[in-house]
């Protein structure tokens, strides 16, 4: 007899503002709804403010990727002001952003995702005891190391931008800080130390050796080649995940989007991974079909979101943020809008970057089995192999005795601009219109808006909703498989308040 149930799935470590509701038939997810439960409204807050206020306010959208918001805000204003950002300002904008990306990737991988490997659901997994030794909350060896090493890596941001998070050092025309030779040398030393830790502990090999892994066959060879590979965090991740079957579910729509990221200086030894003036190329991939990216094709739908309907999708320059939470409870179910590219939902983030830059390893892995939890998280763990060398080169290329970090720009009185980049979690865009010296219009589409999207006006599910279909939940009271799927996208619904609350005999922090 078929058993059909609908449940709200409690998911921790994905933010408190997310509800996932699933319909399960005989233990398999047959329908899913992703609901953002908090109204953000930052766009409304921005209207009427001074043109530069976005540089201070929008980094506060997120404490994890505040530099990416700053970058998007600054790029939008660069466009309006027709700024010619000096090469060394571009380099330092990039270096700070990469440092933030990598700390986020490492913390997500070892403090959020791998923590699930210690879930009692894996009690019979042959690597369970080792997983507990590495990832047990608060005291696992890799938990401790990750906290210490990422703390140090962020010193780079503090040296360049004065603080982390929520620095505002990027301005239209460049950067406002003036790092001297000593600051840059310290950045290089921090980076040198981090790279050594990453190679020793996460990869188990030099970056150069990993970059030779270009197919699933190469990956098998790499795993068998040395104990240091098998026992590294990456090697352990591969062994644990494959035994647990994480490569068998979490497929999604098989659409990928990248806005492109890390602007290329005009003169640099760093080679772009694609074409054009960015290091991480932009693009949209429908399966293996790669298309050039055009921001005009980005739109947001609100048919199933708690906003006033406008029919179909609207480009962010035309977008509206008019909350409407009454009378439509049967249909509308999320405060998140539904971003679409040329009418299609899309996955973004490290795997999307790899697919769009046509990385042979990830094209092979995702091509053979389709996108899945395993390959999505692995893309995040090895992303530093792509960006660390560029970071090193850009820091080395700066001669502080001869450089300028800022070029005077036009006063921003009128105009329209957009700032697109790739945050740690994926495609991030700010669309801004200035009129009479004030912000008239501001729209932000975050990476998690792409992923947490509810259905669009055509009824098409968002990426998480689609990726959950077909997932078998072995224990509905402990749905670790569903958590893997959502966490593999590195969700971030954005937080706000916190306080200390005592609950019965034990206190807990509310976040």
């Amino acid at each position: 007899m078929t058993q059909k149930i609908i449940r709200n799935i409690p998911l921790n470590r994905v933010e408190g503002d997310l509800d996932i509701r699933v319909e399960m038939t005989d233990g398999v997810v047959t329908e899913a709804w992703s609901s953002g439960t908090m109204f953000r409204g930052i766009e409304k807050t921005m209207v009427g403010r001074g043109p530069l206020d976005g540089l201070v306010l929008t980094p506060r959208v997120c404490g994890l990727c505040s530099i990416c918001h700053l970058k998007a805000a600054a790029k939008a204003l660069d466009m309006i002001a027709r700024a010619q950002v000096p090469d060394d300002a571009i380099r330092l904008r990039n270096v700070a952003m990469i440092a933030e990306h990598i700390q986020s990737d490492m913390r997500h991988g070892f403090l959020m995702f791998a923590t699930d490997f210690t879930n009692p659901a894996y009690g019979n997994h042959p690597l369970y005891d080792e997983a507990v030794r590495r990832y047990e909350a608060f005291k696992g060896s890799m938990v401790v190391e990750t906290i210490r090493e990422t703390k140090k890596l962020l010193e780079i941001v503090a040296l360049i931008g004065g603080q982390w998070p929520h620095t505002s050092f990027m301005v239209p025309g460049g950067i406002a800080s003036i790092p001297d030779a000593g600051d840059l040398l310290q950045c290089r030393q921090v980076l040198f130390r981090f790279r050594k830790w990453y190679e020793d502990r996460v990869l188990g090999c030099k970056l150069e050796r990993w970059q030779e892994v270009r197919s699933s066959a190469d990956l098998e060879t790499w795993m068998e080649e040395a104990d240091t590979h098998r026992n590294s965090e990456l090697g352990f991740y591969i062994r644990f995940s494959q035994e647990a079957g994480l490569d068998r579910y979490g497929k999604g729509h098989v659409n990928f989007i990248s806005y492109g990221s890390l602007d290329m200086p005009r003169q640099t030894e760093v080679a772009s991974l694609g074409k054009g003036n960015v290091f991480i190329p932009s693009g949209f991939a429908a399966g293996t079909q790669l298309h050039s990216f055009d921001q005009e094709k980005v739109a947001e739908h609100v048919h199933y979101s708690w906003f006033e309907d406008y029919g179909g999708g609207k480009h962010p320059f035309e977008g509206e943020t008019r909350p409407y939470a009454s009378g439509e409870e049967g249909r509308k179910y999320s405060w998140a809008k539904a971003p679409r590219y040329d009418g299609e939902p899309a996955e973004t983030g490290p795997l999307a970057e790899y697919i769009i830059n046509q990385n042979p390893l990830f094209a092979d892995l995702a091509g053979k089995k389709g996108p899945n939890v395993f390959v999505r998280e692995m893309a995040r763990l090895v992303r530093p192999t792509l960006v660390l060398p560029a970071m090193e080169t850009w820091l080395r290329e700066i001669d502080p005795s001869k450089t300028s970090y800022y070029a005077r720009t036009n006063v921003i009185e009128e105009g329209e601009g957009f700032g697109l980049t790739m945050a740690a979690r994926g495609a991030l865009g700010h669309w801004v219109r200035i009129k009479n010296g004030q912000i008239e219009h501001y729209q932000i589409i975050t990476p998690t808006a792409w992923h947490a999207s509810p259905r669009d006006s055509q009824g098409v599910r968002g990426p998480w909703e689609e990726a959950l279909l077909g997932v078998e939940g072995k224990d509905l009271d402990n749905p670790v498989e569903l958590g893997h799927v959502i966490r593999s996208y590195d969700s971030c619904m954005v937080c706000c308040v916190h306080a200390l609350r005592k609950n019965g005999h034990h206190g807990k922090f509310l976040l």
Binding site: G16, I147, K151, L154
Partner: protein
């Protein structure tokens, strides 16, 4: 002996703004020479940098359920955090920091206390919490 008073909270949220308000008060006061103050905001785990290198840490934060409305309490922060649910997440906060601090703190582990304020901030509570935090930072006991 160095001490740090780390005030945490969200100054835009009523009931969670006591830490920032105490920070504002402390910043106008003459502090003992070995006491630093930190506006900890919502930094959570990223306060680790400020926790290291001090002999004594005094956190100031809003609390619920530890005392009566309007009460200003002194808690052994490590003890208070020990029984708390705290997992790492993008919004992980003071509880997570306190739980993980003994494992990750580089240098000696400081003594850690928490000045907790129950309920919405009022002028007398802000003053009391500010005075208490200085006395604790200076090592006074039996408060």
């Amino acid at each position: 002996m160095t001490a740090r008073i780390i005030c945490v909270g969200n100054r835009f949220v009523d009931g969670d703004d006591i830490g920032p308000q105490v920070y504002d008060r402390l910043s106008l006061m003459a502090l003992p020479p070995d006491v630093d103050i930190v506006d900890g905001g919502l930094l959570g785990l990223n306060l680790l940098r400020f926790a290291e290198g001090a002999d004594r840490l005094v956190f100031v934060d809003s609390v619920f359920g530890f005392g009566r409305e309007g009460e200003v309490l002194v808690l052994d922060a490590m003890e208070a955090a020990d029984g708390m649910a705290a997992s790492y997440g993008h919004s992980c906060g003071l509880a997570y920091l306190l739980r993980v601090l003994p494992e990750v703190c580089e240098g000696g582990m400081p003594q850690v206390l928490l000045v907790g304020v129950e309920g919405s901030a009022t002028e007398p509570m802000i003053s009391r919490a500010a005075d208490l935090s200085i006395k604790l930072a200076e090592g006074e006991k039996g408060l």
